[in-house]
Symmetry: C2
Subunit: 360 residues, 2 copies
């Protein structure tokens, strides 16, 4: 069976060499006599895996020493609660630039005084709102953003200046796609299933001084300090996902790290955006400055044609191009593991489809 080009927004493509290696050692890992899936998380052989995963991600993202890396469960949606449970004591400000940051805001409302500092909702989230330090309440406990908006295909073109207020960022759909200055953030979290590993792992990178002051109602499992003090092993972690993440980190390092990854991702997204900018069949709704390198959205302007596009593309081996159910149209998610050839194939298909399906 040939592998397809899978443009799913997440879970999404994993690097083929990583999958092949995982398949090769699935039944027996090294000389352990067992699968990674069967290992006691407290065995030396598994402890080496999780410890390597942590070190590799720290190296890859150049994570400063005063930040802890946590391997957790529950997805970004669980972090929508964990962030306020750990950090919200007085008030917090949210930039709402898409559906997920809206959900994060709504969840935080359960725990205190939260405010929308800026939003692009009235313009259908087609851009990321600009902010200055004055956009935020000076006594806010933190400012929350979603750095890349998977559904709308936008990304922050800037890191908000929040002064001394810790900046918290959901990076689920852009983490390890390019270098980012971790020291500009108080906390970064990401569901792994877009750019890092199979679904079931959530990575949290948190500055040490922000831990240890959780709200009394915080479930132990959502308390960053507990997880940090136990090196993510307070209970059994999602062992196999962490192993897969380790293989992905190794793969990226073997290609040259995040600088090389950014170059490849820029090349892929430029191919697609350049085509979109030089034709008039498809419309790219996102403002240029806010365009995501990971999720590229476009529409034909005709809902029936959009539907036909996704169906025909699927038949041509270009999978999951249908836009999110809440916005329609098309979305090509081109994360790290999507090869350049996949985007070439997509652009060729788009040209063919436009030629063969004239608009009425």
């Amino acid at each position: 069976m040939n592998r397809v080009f899978n443009f799913s927004a997440g879970p999404s493509m994993l690097p083929l060499p990583v999958l092949q290696r995982a398949a090769d050692e699935l039944v027996c890992y090294g000389d352990s006599g067992m699968s990674v899936m069967e290992m006691s998380h407290r065995s030396p052989v598994y402890e080496a895996i999780i410890s390597d995963a942590e070190k590799l991600l720290r190296k890859l993202m150049n994570v400063p020493e005063n930040y802890k890396i946590l391997f957790l469960q529950g997805g970004a949606s669980t972090q929508f609660a964990a962030v306020p449970l750990n950090l919200l004591h007085n008030k917090a400000d949210y930039i709402v630039s898409g559906q997920f940051s809206g959900k994060a805001f709504k969840e935080a409302e359960k725990y205190g005084d939260v405010k929308i500092a800026a939003t692009s909702k009235e313009d259908n989230f087609t851009y990321v709102p600009k902010t200055t330090r004055e956009s935020f309440r000076p006594d806010a406990d933190y400012v929350h953003i979603c750095f890349n908006n998977t559904i709308y295909g936008t990304k922050f073109p800037y890191i908000p200046d929040t002064g001394d207020i810790p900046l918290v960022a959901d990076m689920s759909s852009c983490i390890i796609s390019e270098p980012v200055d971790v020291s500009k953030f108080g906390l970064i979290y990401a569901g792994a299933q877009k750019n890092m590993a199979p679904a079931g792992l959530t990575v949290v990178i948190v500055r040490e001084d922000l831990m240890g002051n959780s709200r009394p109602e915080t479930p132990t499992m959502l308390d960053y300090k507990t997880m940090a003090d136990n090196d993510s092993m307070y209970n059994t972690p999602p062992c196999y996902c962490i192993y897969m993440a380790k293989l992905v980190y190794e793969w990226i390092l073997s290609l040259g790290g995040l600088e090389a990854m950014k170059e490849l991702n820029l090349k892929k997204s430029a191919l697609l955006y350049d085509y979109l900018d030089n034709q008039d069949y498809y419309i790219a709704p996102v403002q240029k400055e806010s365009r995501s390198m990971m999720n590229v959205t476009f529409v034909t302007g005709d809902a029936d044609l959009d539907k036909k596009f996704a169906k025909d593309a699927d038949a041509a081996g270009l999978k999951n191009l249908k836009g999110h159910r809440s916005v329609g149209g098309m979305r090509a998610s081109i994360y790290n593991a999507m090869p350049y050839e996949g985007v070439e194939a997509l652009v060729a298909f788009m040209k063919k489809f436009a030629a063969e399906n004239p608009k009425k």
Copy 2:
């Protein structure tokens, strides 16, 4: 590389045919052109997997129609909070028969008036305390038990009579090891990494009338109703673990279901307990009536010998026999996937070790 016999308490052995099938289809699942790890959780091909997993578990455990099966994340430790967050409004009673039920009790203390109805703590948890309906406060919202105590090697020899009070059971280390009357419980939860799947999946089986009344501070992701209303897909579920669980359920059904599994598990545990009962080198600390079929604990009575036992056994390909760090001694976890031959090999080793290492 030969596979070893892995007596780990969890994560633990998975059936070899399941691992082999997973390896075979890891890179490409059927004619999907992609790995299960890469599938959009909302794609028809993945929806068939999660839906089949649900149906198979329902069949396997004979789950009544008025119970929902949820595929969640976070392990039993997250359920220690989720249970009171969803069910505790007035008071709740806990039977503390081991370390995990103790942790569950402690977590629930954050949310209301909880009481230990019975405990065997003073006897080092070497048995499961007896209870009657009068052991519980009549206005309790629920009674919580841990049905099988992994660390101590005990299991409830009876289902507590709680009258109309919903009985909540942590079945992490005994789920699908034998038939159980689900209708006797209000809620059953289990981390999957002992008997069902790789770590990272938590199964919750909950009676419908117990949902929809969570406490206001409940994180959305811990609200059973939210997860039930979205068929465990409120956010991205731990897709690959669910796929592995499905393969395990199919494997059990192919062997004859839970009746057949119980027969095999009884045979395995009897081999070990019969040996223990008919020699005087090893001591089995658990009272006979409370013995677990899944986790068998024993000691030599000499900490140095215990240490040597685990080390020599490891060298002989019998892995992870060291007891839990909090109790010492030895523990053989012999879940569904442990073959009878593994227990035979263990008993042979125990005899040899006893002969070669006389006590001082």
